[in-house]
């Protein structure tokens, strides 16, 4: 009863050649995507479109931060203490200082422009988020695939590690890795390495989700007849795993990846807020919130409220996008 794939082929009828050029295959794929159910579902979901737009805007801001941000907060030499603690434009603080247009969201105690700090913080947060999710996804998918396909002792071994992993909260792992790294490395190097420590810590807490899901799908896929057919043909097990099974288990990975990105950004913010995250020299959104909240009782609310808002918007948008993606890719809900 499927109505799919009927319109595409009509145009191809006079193509005699069996090997289409790469661009045509790519164009074909693009066509199939826009013709497909996922895109249709996207077009019919305002939530998905808005959250996608917001995520995109934030991504662009983060990627092009040095060109978009009004001030370069990375460059300490541009800071001027005279500019410290300006309220946002249009507001007046308790001392009667009026906000200026130059610093739209006000400045912090060092004279940093909050808007620029948020944009750069966004960049750092997303960098950590993406890096840790990619690390977790690759590791988790690989381990899940191997675990599910090989089965037996290897499967038990990997899954027991996963179980143990799940009993530790990510914050504990981050503190642990951070502590070990701090003990082993000199101070300066430690600060520099902190971002990697953070990425590994967050990834360590997330790979289990990927591994479990991929293992589950792999268990289903490996018993399907196309896998048996490949075995009968004599295809190498590694090739069966990566060329046959892997493409059929990646759907959920995309969904978990998106949802994990939100969690990763949040975890990073939490860790930075607690002080075990990124140093002040490379502030992420979490770091900004931590610095800002020291001033909230002295009336400089903007230093913490705006970074917090940015964090909420980012996490919410990514989460809604992930939710939609999960529903759109779930054939049962279609």
């Amino acid at each position: 009863m499927s109505a799919r794939g009927t319109s595409i082929m009509a145009a191809d009828i006079d193509h005699r050649a069996l090997a289409p050029s790469l661009p045509r295959r790519a164009a074909d794929s693009v066509h199939r995507f826009f013709d497909g159910d996922v895109f249709y579902s996207f077009r019919n979901s305002p939530v998905a479109m808005i959250s996608f737009a917001v995520t995109m805007v934030l991504l662009i801001l983060a990627v092009f931060a040095p060109w978009i941000a009004p001030h370069n907060t990375d460059d300490v030499s541009t800071l001027n203490l005279m500019n410290a603690r300006f309220p946002p434009y249009g507001f007046t603080d308790d001392f009667g200082t009026e906000g200026v247009a130059q610093f739209l969201l006000g400045t912090d105690d060092q004279g940093r422009d909050i808007l620029s700090a948020i944009i750069f913080g966004l960049k750092v947060s997303l960098e950590v988020g993406f890096a840790s999710v990619i690390l977790a996804a690759v590791t988790g998918t690989f381990l899940g695939l191997v675990s599910g396909y090989a089965g037996g002792k290897l499967d038990s071994f990997i899954m027991r590690i996963a179980d143990v992993q799940l009993t530790f909260p990510s914050i504990l792992i981050a503190l642990l890795i951070d502590g070990i790294a701090g003990g082993l490395m000199p101070r300066a190097l430690h600060d520099e390495m902190k971002i990697y420590v953070l990425i590994i810590a967050i990834a360590a807490s997330q790979w289990v989700n990927f591994a479990r899901t991929v293992r589950g799908s792999t268990l289903v896929e490996k018993n399907k007849e196309y896998v048996q057919a490949a075995k009968v043909i004599g295809v190498h097990p590694a090739l069966i795993m990566f060329r046959h099974v892997l493409p059929n288990v990646t759907g959920p990975v995309l969904v978990i990846g998106t949802l994990s990105l939100a969690i990763a950004v949040l975890t990073e913010a939490t860790l930075s807020f607690l002080g075990v995250g990124l140093p002040v020299t490379r502030p992420s959104l979490g770091t900004l919130i931590r610095i800002g909240q020291q001033y909230i009782f002295s009336g400089e609310w903007w230093m913490t409220i705006f970074p917090s808002l940015a964090l909420v918007i980012l996490v919410l948008a990514v989460n809604l996008l992930g939710d939609w993606l999960r529903d759109a890719l779930n054939p049962k809900l279609r």
Partner: protein, 348 residues
Amino acid sequence: MAEAVQRRPSHDGVPLLRARGLAKYFDVSPPFVTRALQGAGRSILRAVDGIDFEIETGKTFSLVGESGCGKSTVARLIVGLYEPTKGHVEFDGQDMAGLTTRKAMEPVRRRMQMIFQDPFASLNPRWRVADIVAEPIRTHRIIEDGREVLHRVGELLELVRLSPRDGEKFPHEFSGGQRQRISIARALASNPEFLVCDEPTSALDVSVQAQILNLMKDLQRELSLTYLFISHDLAVVYHISDYVGVMYLGRLVEWAPAEALFHNPQHPYTRMLLDAIPDLDMSGRPRQAVAGEVPSPIHPPSGCHFHPRCPFANDRCRSEVPKSLPRTGGQVACHAVEENRIPETGKA
């Protein structure tokens, strides 16, 4: 070989494939802790319990039986998807148990392929048809040049009455029957001599089934293929087979040339199966109501597995496993047949 000739005196064909004492047991015990708590022992499912048969070059040998009789397990044992618990599979005189490495298996893999039951599961949904059909060619490096591979794929698609242009498409663009053709094209890609067909038409509608059965017969003639055909549908089996084996709870109870088996069935189970087929000719033939159901294969009845449902069962059937003995060009494993306790059927 001498043994083979002796076993089947009416035919002097050379067996391409021979199964000797083939058995596969599965351990279906509950987990250790559960067993310990319940004080239960291991439960072993004897899916295939020591069967012997031979398939002559260029012929079709079919295995029929109801679900759970082990016929699909036999198919998987033959192509090496399962390791036999006991017994041997010999392909062209070579014992496959000796081929332990993938490299040693490769020549046999090229010569022996399989067609599966579910046309919706047997093709990788993410692959283009051309890549699916080309997989055996690329795996065994039968043709090295990329363009020639695609040319060969086109030929194969034409062989199964599809268009070479169909290689471009994805499996979901095809109907069940067309997918089964793709499956056949893939199986033929490495020029095999022997095809194991596991219920290749049972997921298809009758009119499509007819197309596939005709195609399989044509291909057998054109490419001199040998088939092992697994099915639960007796009419299909009668149509396609030269020899038919009937399985019941892991054992081969009877095998014979198709004509003999269908028109002069010996084993009471074979007779029962034939009697159960709905009568399309509406001859008003009175049917004997078939009693009972297939028992659990984990705890099969003692002696002859069929005795609880058999109208001719006696004490010997309940205690002693019957041996396969020659009869009407084939073999029958039944005490009642051996002792001539069964009246001849008035069929044919």
